[in-house]
Amino acid sequence: MPARTAVWWTILRISLEERLVYRGDFALGTLMRFLPILTQVFLWWAVFTAASTGQSIDQTRIVGYSYHDFIAYYLLTMVSRAFSSMPGLASGIARDIRDGTVKKYLIQPIDMLSFLLLNRMAHKVVYYTVATLPFAFVFYLCGDFFPNGWPEPQVMAAYVASLLMAFLLGFFLEATIGMIGFWFLEVSSLLFVYMLFNFFFSGHMFPIDMLPGFWGEVVRIIPLQYLAYFPAAVFLGKVEGPELIQGLWIQFAWVVLFMFTSRAAFHLGVRRYSGFGG
């Protein structure tokens, strides 16, 4: 076991170094990420001023959200996405399968999913190290959008748990999609569709409460909401009490489900792969 930990530590460290080399990208990327929020701040102000016929803007509600809630929501989904987004993971796996790099994991005593997970954790750790300051700064600037301040400790704990699970869910979900590469050589269009659905139905673009009828039902069933919407809703107190506990359990169930699906897909894929003689 200690030997194994040493290997993992080495992988983590190398990944960290690799990430740190591209300093310029990092600093710019983090700052840029907040720019779209800025346009949302103004867009929703324009929407709320137009919607608030006769009453003050503070009183106006759209699907139960005040203007402040909307902006707070967008800021919080940024945090959710910082955990759940996995840029390049699925396409990287598909590429490794296509060009045969995947063989490396079959020869070397390294488990591919664990390796990628560690790599991703390193990626995220570096990102948080660099991003915490800008994040804190932006949240400090936007303190006014959080009139209720920090949530209760229990809610906070649930929020942290939902974020960590969002990371795991994002990872295993994308890894599963990447494994499809074992069966279809071209997964980029599939990935695009996933990205599209993710953007719209995870709650990244708008709170999913805005979706009426059929689409609203669908979005509540599929797991995408746990990548962005759910943690933010927990923080804002949109889900409370038994509903919150239930939500966390469902999120956990999705994580476990995709953990097994990705592993099963890998094993089936490898069998198929070696069946073809690689």
């Binding site: 460290r13 960290l16 740190l20 300093r23 990092f26 660099v130």
Partner: protein, 342 residues
């Protein structure tokens, strides 16, 4: 009187590269402060090439050969020094100059990967404004010489490396350049393809009298094509002359091949020189150039030899020796001893 086509004076090029730090702590530090190293690719080169010459640049990797070619094609700007090709300063990139030369790089391709080469050629015709009739004639002539006419309508990605290189050459010569820069044109090719490209270049260069500068790792290219050789190491010219001169100056040895009548190789062969190989009934001995006659006489007296062959060591070996000599002298005082070639 011949005319200088390429005139280079104390041309130098250096650039900074980011030095990646080892270790996690250093990587973190690298976020805030970066270390750079200055690479002096070319450290002051003087060279004149006359019209119609075929010159080879030799040198180990990173010696500055390719950088020199790139400077002459105006792709990069020099740090200092001057150069004129056909009377133009290359890095001004005037159209009048760009219409008169071509650069072929064995490791990079310019043809559209997914389209038939014919389409890329057509584009060339328009960019270089080649008269349509003349374009057709030149294209047919070149593709005929290179035996690739039947491949013109196949997407480039489906061609073999050798066929692709021939297409690249054709593309480069469509506008009938007066100066041709070839950077490793036969790299990665099999022997047959290499030979065909050498053959083509030899004929084309002779027929059109086009001034050509070539860099190559394959001594066969050089031996087949160039009368003049320029050796560049550490960004400086350390030899400039003919291949024969290299042999005179650096080929200190000859290799004697002996065929013994009784099929038995004598055990004391080592006294005459370094035994390179023993494959009964044949043996090869390396002997100092000056001692060849004397040594050979002694061997013939002592042993039943039926056949003798005296030759220069392979060119590769000699060039490697030249390179290593430069490395040694560079190691001593950090300054290079530049050969008095020419």
């Amino acid at each position: 009187m011949t005319m200088a086509v390429v005139e280079i004076e104390s041309l130098a090029k250096s650039y900074r590269v980011y030095q990646k730090a080892e270790g996690l702590a250093a990587s973190v530090a690298g976020l805030f402060h970066r270390k750079y190293r200055t690479v002096e690719a070319v450290r002051g080169i003087d060279l004149t090439v006359e019209a119609g010459e075929f010159v080879a640049f030799l040198g180990p990797n990173g010696a500055g050969k390719t950088t020199t070619l790139k400077l002459l094609s105006g792709v990069i700007n020099p740090t200092s020094g001057t150069a004129r090709v056909l009377g133009h300063v290359p890095w001004r990139r005037e159209n009048a100059y760009r219409r008169r030369f071509a650069l072929v790089m064995g490791q990079k391709n310019q043809l559209w990967w997914d389209l038939p080469a014919a389409e890329s050629f057509r584009l060339h015709q328009q960019i270089y404004r080649i008269d349509p009739a003349e374009f057709d004639r030149t294209r047919d002539e070149l593709t005929g010489m290179l035996a690739i006419r039947n491949l013109l309508s196949q997407p480039v990605r489906e061609l073999s490396l050798g066929e692709r290189m021939k297409m690249e050459l054709t593309a480069a010569l469509l506008h009938k350049p007066d100066v041709l820069f070839l950077d490793e044109p036969t790299i990665g090719l099999d022997v047959v393809a290499q030979y065909k490209i050498q053959d083509f270049l030899k004929h084309y260069q002779r027929e059109r009298g086009i001034t050509t500068l070539l860099t190559s790792h394959y001594m066969k290219d050089v031996a087949a094509l160039c009368r003049r050789v320029v050796i560049i190491t550490h960004g400086r010219i350390m030899f400039d002359g003919s291949l024969a001169q290299i042999v005179d100056r650096f080929g200190g040895h000859k290799v004697i091949t002996l065929l013994f009548a009784d099929g038995h190789i004598p055990g004391d062969l080592g006294v005459y020189g370094e035994v390179i190989s023993e494959e009964p009934p044949r043996a090869k001995v390396r002997v100092d150039r000056g001692d060849v006659t004397a040594t050979l006489g002694r061997i013939l007296q002592q042993h039943p030899v039926v056949d003798v062959n005296v030759e220069d060591p392979p060119l590769e070996e000699m060039i490697a020796e030249v390179f290593s000599q430069v490395d040694e002298s560079a190691g001593k005082d950090g300054e290079l001893v530049v050969g008095r070639g020419g």
